[in-house]
């Protein structure tokens, strides 16, 4: 399959930022540097028409460096085209600039990402926990979070 049209345009504009492009099952995933995420998202929305942020989430690759990935599943309502953007995030600096200024819907998605994955978002208008209670400690979707709850040995899994 040929390269996604948006990839060339993105590379042309942000040549130094595109780290990796993967094509899998007809879906394109672009990994970019986290410093440029807001500029890239603004470009994707304003110039390439990706006007809809379908989903935003964090993935914890424990044991890898950088440890986290923040994933943006974006969609172009006019051309009905999907694209995925990822940014690597270091554990020591688990912060990404918010894209809630680009797509308002990112607000709650980023709150959820902070709540469950412990990645915080710079300049976010309202960064509070959303699903867990306000006084909860830890971030449950992290791979090193004890599966059976705090204070218990981590679950070893059925496939150890």
């Amino acid at each position: 399959m040929s390269e996604h049209a948006a990839v060339g345009k993105l590379k042309g504009k942000f040549s130094g930022s595109v780290l990796d492009v993967v094509e899998y099952r007809g879906e394109t995933t672009i990994t970019v540097k986290k410093e440029d995420i807001v500029a890239i998202c603004t470009f994707m929305k304003k110039d390439l028409g990706y006007n809809f942020l379908a989903d935003l989430c964090g993935v914890d690759y424990l044991g890898r460096a950088p440890r986290f990935m923040v994933v943006y599943n974006i969609y172009n309502v006019t051309t009905k085209d999907r694209l995925r953007i990822k940014v690597p995030v270091e554990e020591s600096d688990a912060k990404v600039d918010t894209v809630s200024g680009v797509w308002g819907t990112a607000n709650w998605h980023e709150r959820e990402c902070w709540d469950l994955m412990g990645i915080s978002f710079n300049n976010h208008p309202d960064l509070r926990r959303i699903l867990m209670p306000a006084d909860w400690e830890g971030h449950p979707l992290r791979k090193d979070y004890p599966l059976q709850g705090p204070g218990r040995e981590p679950y070893q899994g059925r496939h150890k």
């Binding site: 989903d55 993935v59 599943n73 797509w103 308002g104 059925r158």
Partner: protein, 392 residues
């Protein structure tokens, strides 16, 4: 002297109109809502975390419990995502695809029936509730015949269906879609011309197309704001491209527009079901992928290969390649998406569910602020939220 202090009140988590355990903190100036802050998470069950420790087949029952008013749709989204991940999307038998579409549309009617029942009840029209639940009861009976359960159907499987349709199902279904449009006329007769109903929802909960896109509304809530977008038509799955149906859009942007869109969608679903019934031909209902799909019980107990495959799939689980996929489907409430990251193990490394209600609820504050407190009830109803899906 005028007294101008605002008052903060709790609406929920135990309030009849919040459709579950949703808490709204409302700052009121008299009867006007100055600020609305939703608090969610009371029903959080950690579905995503649970999924990371189960095989791909074991996750299907968890998806029933997301949007429990439309369980088959969640099943559909999930199995489509897993089929994409395993690369068996093109091997799903025709009959399974048709049955999936038919039941997905039946589920859409079921979910919309709860919407119209509760939405009208919240606003004070009790009769519609009784009628709509009568029809819903019929659909629940159909669910029971198909899957053995009235709500948590757990019927779709990776690769097809768990079993073929029961005898006499097609006739029941035809009888149902013959009478259903008449029932919709009844609801419209009770509501559309009703002055109180009109006054309560016309011009209430307005949101423009740009604002709806920005905040991420999907489904009928978005189409009621004039955005012509439906995943069934625009990114077809399960063979939706072979059906002739119309996507209804209304640019009224208010609760009235969303009311009309949903009613038309129910009628459209009846048409899709009729087309699906005409397309329904005898044939297998499970893909021929023995290393991925659970074999039928007959095969498991009568053949040695079936037994081995069953044992391997149950005890270990099928392993996809390393990769990541996203699959979105048009649920009754909007786009529900499954983003699955696989590291080659028998469980998803990470599974993110994109819930429609979660994102739709986010639009609530901007739709009610500056309006009367009574409009909050109408807006919760029109957004058609389900807390099981919001909190996951």
């Amino acid at each position: 002297m005028a007294f101008t202090e605002t008052m903060t009140v709790n609406m929920g988590p135990q309030h009849p109109s919040t459709h579950g355990v949703l808490q709204l903190i409302l700052e009121l100036d008299g009867e006007i809502v100055v600020k609305a802050t939703p608090h969610i998470g009371f029903l959080h069950r950690g579905t995503e975390k649970l999924s990371e420790n189960r095989t791909y087949h074991q996750i299907i029952p968890l998806t029933d419990r997301l949007d429990y008013l439309a369980p088959m749709h969640n099943n559909l989204g999930y199995v489509l995502a897993v089929e994409k991940l395993f690369g068996i999307t093109d091997q799903i038998p025709e009959r399974a695809q048709v049955v999936r579409v038919m039941l997905a549309e039946l589920t859409r009617i079921k979910s919309h029936l709860v919407w119209i029942a509760c939405h009208a009840l919240d606003i004070g029209a009790m009769t519609v509730f009784i009628y709509a639940f009568r029809e819903r009861e019929f659909i629940m009976d159909m669910y029971e015949k198909i899957s053995g359960a009235r709500m948590t159907s757990n019927y779709f499987r990776v690769g097809g269906l768990s079993a073929d349709l029961p005898d006499g199902f097609e006739k029941d279904m035809r009888d149902f879609i013959d009478v259903m449009p008449g029932h919709i006329d009844t609801y419209e007769g009770l509501l559309t011309g009703n002055k109180i109903w009109q006054k309560r929802i016309m011009g209430v909960g307005e949101i423009s197309a740009e604002a709806a896109l920005d905040i991420g509304l999907t489904g009928p809530s978005m189409r009621g704001s004039g955005v012509d977008w439906d995943l069934r038509r625009d990114n077809p799955y399960s063979g939706y491209e072979k059906y002739d149906f119309k996507v209804h859009v209304d640019d009224g942007c208010d609760t009235w527009a969303r009311y009309k869109v949903r009613l038309l969608e129910m009628r459209e679903s009846c048409k899709i079901i009729r087309q699906a019934l005409d397309k329904l031909k005898p044939g297998p209902v499970l893909a021929d992928c023995p290393k991925i799909c659970l074999p039928p019980k007959q095969k498991t107990v009568n053949t040695i290969e079936g037994l081995i495959h069953h044992f391997k799939i149950i005890s270990e689980g099928p392993k996809p390649e390393v990769g990541e996929i996203y699959q979105g489907v048009e649920n009754p409430k909007g786009e529900v998406g499954f983003y699955i990251v696989s590291n080659g193990s028998p469980s998803p490394y990470r599974m993110k569910i994109r819930p429609a209600s979660f994102v739709n609820l986010q639009a609530l504050p901007q739709m009610v602020e500056g309006r009367l407190i009574a409009d909050v009830v109408a807006v919760i109803g029109t957004l058609d939220i389900v807390l099981g899906e919001i909190d996951r």
